[in-house]
């Protein structure tokens, strides 16, 4: 056990975490040149393409230190994006230490801070690593200063690397061996293992990834999942090196995957404790907090007959990522679909993209919303995550608030202040972390953030600002329900909860967008934005005057057929609201905003 080190790399997005992981695998000989692809640990296509890590992966490596001893290093990769702090903290539970990776040219960014807080909360050993030192604009000394001042860590022990070229990577591993404590645990005690992840494999059923704290696990052993009460018999066990390799036993400190003919993912809740059925542990692990979805939307198949396929796809994805929630929902405009909850906007986009890509589905996503607390006159509190569920009568509504930490070059401070104001935010703190970089803390309503805050921040700062956020409770706000009506009929997919002050501009914007996108029909189409019975914006799509092909060339019917075929295809993608046909592009444009 003394030769095991369990660690993660934590970093702001793009600071080179996956590249460092690749290099570590090179150095430890885990991957032959032939197998090598960029970002080995990022298995999903979408991860490689977006250059981000979504699902945490674990890999077991062999390392011979210059002190002459052989070590087993379990590298637990973590996602870098703000939406996935849940997965980060899950990964950290399995570690005794972390590499805190900082880009030598960019310095500390918002997620560096956020991840650092997660690591110190769990009292993990932190090794600062300054990466990309051979970039022309690298400034390791500036970064050292930030590490001291902002993170309050002794920076003299920071390791300098260039993961890209491989420089300093061995130093990183030596630091892991020296400075991260070995796991503790008793191999003779009852089995106590933590479920880190689980996913569904078509051939083997549910595969569980677990970190063993006490005891020993062997194939054929009967295990109990303490939280769910499910009992199973372990079949195969193995480690990722990074490809799967079977093992016959695993003891404290080890991270193993196992199968046990488990059919339902519900049996294997992440954070649950696995123990021996015959000799259960008396002290199960505390487990994780259940991830709470922050952002909600409706997902609908573009072709209605894909509903079953969507349901199956969601169930399968859910096996892999239990942090999103879904339940059936019906919309008169969009048909049968699902109301889904996600950890954040990126999470939503990724699930949507995986559904489309891995399951070949075409989807419409309704406008993302957040969960509101509606306080009724009697004092009863209702949580609603669908604008259409807002009751007609209530006392007041509270909206979720977040506290955002933004790190930015100071030249954009003015732009960020006005963006925060525009987004109904309140600035709490502004602090220089280096002569030209500022850390700014502000409270913002989550619904504004969900709408387009990140996009706007990006364009206001040319992409130089980084942001991370945490929940900061609920606050009362003057919110209204805004409906869009097409020829007097409300379109349920286009219901929004917006701040009263913004409702007019919001409504007018949508209505004029819709006008551009709804094709002219045989009659006038009125598009209205309404709050209750009050119409606040209106546009009309004038009736089409005629639709007849002027000329049929000789006896050639093929042109005409093609033309009709085209029109027919267009109609297929239309949704009918009353007599009005609305193309899906109109929904998409409005819903994407």
């Amino acid at each position: 056990m003394d030769n095991i080190r369990n660690f993660s790399i934590i970093a702001h997005i793009d600071h080179g975490k996956s590249t460092l992981a690749d290099r570590i695998m090179d150095v430890t000989g885990a991957v032959s040149q032939r197998e090598k692809k960029e970002q080995m640990l990022d298995q999903m296509d979408i991860e490689r393409e977006r250059g981000i890590t979504i699902k945490a992966q674990t890999v077991r490596l062999n390392f011979k230190s210059k002190n002459g001893r052989d070590y087993i290093l379990n590298l637990i990769d973590t996602p870098g994006h703000v939406d996935f702090s849940y997965e980060v903290s899950r990964s950290l539970k399995a570690c005794e230490g972390v590499l805190l990776l900082v880009d030598a040219s960019q310095g500390i960014e918002a997620q560096t801070l956020a991840n650092m807080h997660l690591a110190t909360e769990q009292k993990l050993a932190v090794i600062p690593v300054i990466n990309k030192i051979d970039l022309p604009n690298a400034d390791p000394e500036m970064v050292r200063g930030q590490i001291e001042d902002v993170l309050c860590i002794d920076s003299s022990e920071a390791v300098l690397t260039s993961a890209k070229s491989g420089k300093g990577v061995v130093d990183v591993l030596e630091a892991v061996v020296e400075r991260i404590p070995p796991p503790k645990g008793d191999k003779d005690a009852p089995l106590k293992a933590l479920v880190l992840d689980s996913w569904y494999d078509t051939y083997r059923g549910v595969v569980v990834l677990a970190r063993i704290f006490d005891g020993t696990m062997t194939p054929m052993m009967k295990v109990l999942f303490v939280g769910t009460g499910a009992e199973h018999q372990v079949l195969q066990m193995g480690v990722f090196t990074p490809s799967g390799r079977e093992v016959q036993s695993a003891g404290p400190g080890e991270v193993v995957f196992f199968t046990a003919s488990i059919k339902t993912i519900e049996d294997t809740k992440i954070g649950d404790t696995v123990t021996g059925k015959d000799n259960p542990t008396k002290e199960p692990l505390p487990g994780f907090k259940e991830a709470r979805p922050m952002v909600f939307c409706g997902l609908y198949p573009i072709e209605g007959d894909n509903y079953d396929a969507l349901r199956e796809a969601l169930a399968k994805l859910h096996l892999n990522d239990s942090s999103f929630k879904y339940e059936p929902e019906t919309s008169s405009a969009l048909g049968f679909g699902f109301r889904c909850g996600f950890l954040g906007l990126l999470h939503m986009e990724i699930i949507q993209e995986r559904l489309e890509r891995e399951f070949n589905l075409n989807l419409i996503t309704t406008s993302p919303t957040v969960s509101y607390r509606v306080v009724m006159r009697g004092g009863e509190v209702r949580l609603i995550d669908n604008p259409n569920d807002l009751p007609e009568q209530y006392d007041f509504v509270e909206e979720p608030i977040i506290r955002a930490t933004i790190i930015t070059p100071d030249e954009y401070l003015g732009a960020i202040y006005s963006l925060i104001e525009e987004k109904r935010g309140v600035q709490e703190k502004t602090e220089y972390i280096s002569p030209t970089r500022v850390m700014l803390v502000a409270k913002l309503p989550l619904n504004e953030v969900v709408l387009d805050f990140f996009d706007k921040l990006k364009s206001a700062t040319k992409g130089y600002a980084s942001v991370d956020y945490e929940e900061a409770g609920y606050e009362r706000a003057d919110l209204v329900k805004l409906d869009i009506l097409v020829n007097e009929e409300p379109v349920d997919a286009l219901g929004f909860i917006v701040h009263k002050e913004k409702s007019y501009v919001f409504g007018r914007d949508i209505v004029s967008k819709m006008r551009e996108l709804i094709p002219r029909q045989m009659f006038d189409v009125a598009i209205q934005a309404a709050i209750g019975s009050k119409i606040i914006a209106r546009e009309t799509v004038k009736a089409l005057r005629k639709n007849v092909t002027a000329k049929c060339y000789g006896g050639d019917i093929t042109r005409k057929r093609k033309l009709l075929e085209k029109q027919k295809e267009g109609k297929k993608r239309m949704k009918q609201i009353g007599r009005v046909e609305i193309p899906q592009t109109a929904f998409l444009a409005v819903l994407k905003k």
Binding site: N547, V548, G554, G555, I557, L564, Q567
Partner: protein, 407 residues
């Protein structure tokens, strides 16, 4: 076709002859809006092309007694008169048009001399269709036409002097920059000349034409919908009051002077297309010759024929018929005709629709949803034995067809 026996491309002897179309793909210059199978700068191919079409005529299977012959293009008048004569004599030999048959040649105002016109009459043409398009030079320029308005009038007068008693004029409306007033003057000018037949087409912007590009990048702006509708309505009212019947969406004729040849297309009668890009409808099948001149010549030289069947299932065939037939204005379509064509016991159709196989009980029940929909939208009036489109039904003919598309 009527009661004729449908027995594939080689049809029986006792039924009446078909309409014969001859395509001449050559043009002096291509108009901006044209995406038809016509080519400029290909005159070197006139000789081999003529030989190919002669050979196609010789081997064509068709009944004698053709009801009409139509030589269109391109610009038929580009072809030297002796070549036209050769083609027509082959046509006469092979198809033996009835004495009353309508025999049309298309001509452009800039390539038509009095001498040519007299020659055409000698060859046997008895109807002339002149591509005037507009009487206003600025409009003609916008279309990329080679002629000016004086030539158009001169060509018409020359035709009359040469002795053509049946002349048709083509007009185009909805030209970029054209006002309703501009177009009304075109209509008046046409009426003043007094042709037997007027075709007035709304300018259609086809993809991959210079006009498409001009519209796309904003160099020209088409009149808006409202103006287009007014132009269309103006066409109808002006020509009607001048004694021209509105018999097809874009076609008008003095009583009895409707284009016999085009009626064959619209009524769903058989026609035989010869030459590059020409289409045929024989039996219940459609065939298309290659658009490219050299491909066509090659096919004829090597295989002796150039037609490729356009595959269509029974549902397509019904729609193909409707999309032509419903273009005829105020002409009731009887269910009996539809049933005779498509729903006889012999042709009882299995429809593969959304509900799977469906055996037909006749047009009215198979298409009941479409009929209901168009009636509800007031696009058609339906009674026990048939239906006819309303004025709105004509204006929204493409919507009507889409309703028939989803049975």
């Amino acid at each position: 076709m009527g009661d004729g026996v449908m027995d594939g491309k080689g049809s029986s002897i006792d039924k009446p002859g078909a309409a014969v179309y001859l395509h001449v793909p050559f043009c002096a210059s291509k108009c901006y809006y044209c995406d038809f199978a016509s080519y400029e700068g290909q005159n070197r191919l006139m000789e081999p092309y003529t030989n190919a079409i002669l050979s196609e005529i010789a081997s064509a299977h068709a009944a004698k007694g053709a009801t009409s012959v139509y030589m269109g293009g391109g610009t038929p008048s580009m072809l030297p008169a002796d070549k036209i004569a050769k083609i027509m004599s082959a046509v006469k030999e092979r198809f033996a048009p009835a004495p009353s048959a309508e025999i049309t040649i298309e001509a452009n105002p800039d390539s038509t001399s009095r001498a040519d016109l007299e020659r055409y009459l000698q060859i046997g043409f008895n109807r002339l269709s002149i591509g005037v398009q507009s009487f206003e030079d600025s409009m003609l320029e916008k279309l990329g036409r080679a002629h000016d308005s004086k030539k158009a009038t001169a060509a018409f007068e020359a035709a009359r002097k040469a002795g053509f008693k049946n002349v048709s004029i083509d007009l185009i409306y909805g030209i970029p920059g054209q006002s309703v007033g501009d177009y009304a003057r075109d209509l008046e000018a046409a009426v003043l000349l007094g042709p037997e037949h007027i075709s007035a087409y709304q300018l259609t912007v086809e993809e991959e034409t210079p006009l498409w590009d001009m519209v796309e990048d904003g160099r020209v702006v088409l009149p808006d919908d409202e103006t287009m509708l007014t132009m269309f309505e103006t066409t109808i009212s002006k020509l009607r009051s001048a004694g021209y019947g509105h018999y097809e969406v874009s076609n008008f004729a003095k009583p009895g002077m409707e284009c016999r040849h085009n009626l064959a297309y619209w009524l769903g009668e058989e026609f035989i297309g010869l030459g590059s890009g020409a289409h045929s409808f024989v039996g219940s099948s459609r065939y298309a010759n290659p658009d490219d001149i050299e491909d066509y010549i090659y096919a004829i030289d090597t295989a002796g024929e150039a037609g490729v069947e356009i595959l269509a299932d029974e549902k397509d065939k019904v729609l193909d018929f409707l999309l032509m037939r419903l273009r005829l204005v105020d002409k009731k379509l009887f269910f009996k005709e539809l049933n005779d064509r498509f729903f006889t016991p012999a042709t009882r159709i299995k429809y593969v629709g959304e509900e799977g196989l469906r055996f037909s009980e006749g047009f009215k029940s198979v298409y009941s949803k479409a009929l209901e929909d168009i009636a509800e939208k007031k696009l058609a009036i339906i009674d026990d034995d048939g239906f006819s489109l309303t004025h709105n039904g004509m204006l929204f003919l493409d919507d009507v067809l889409l309703d028939f598309e989803k049975i």
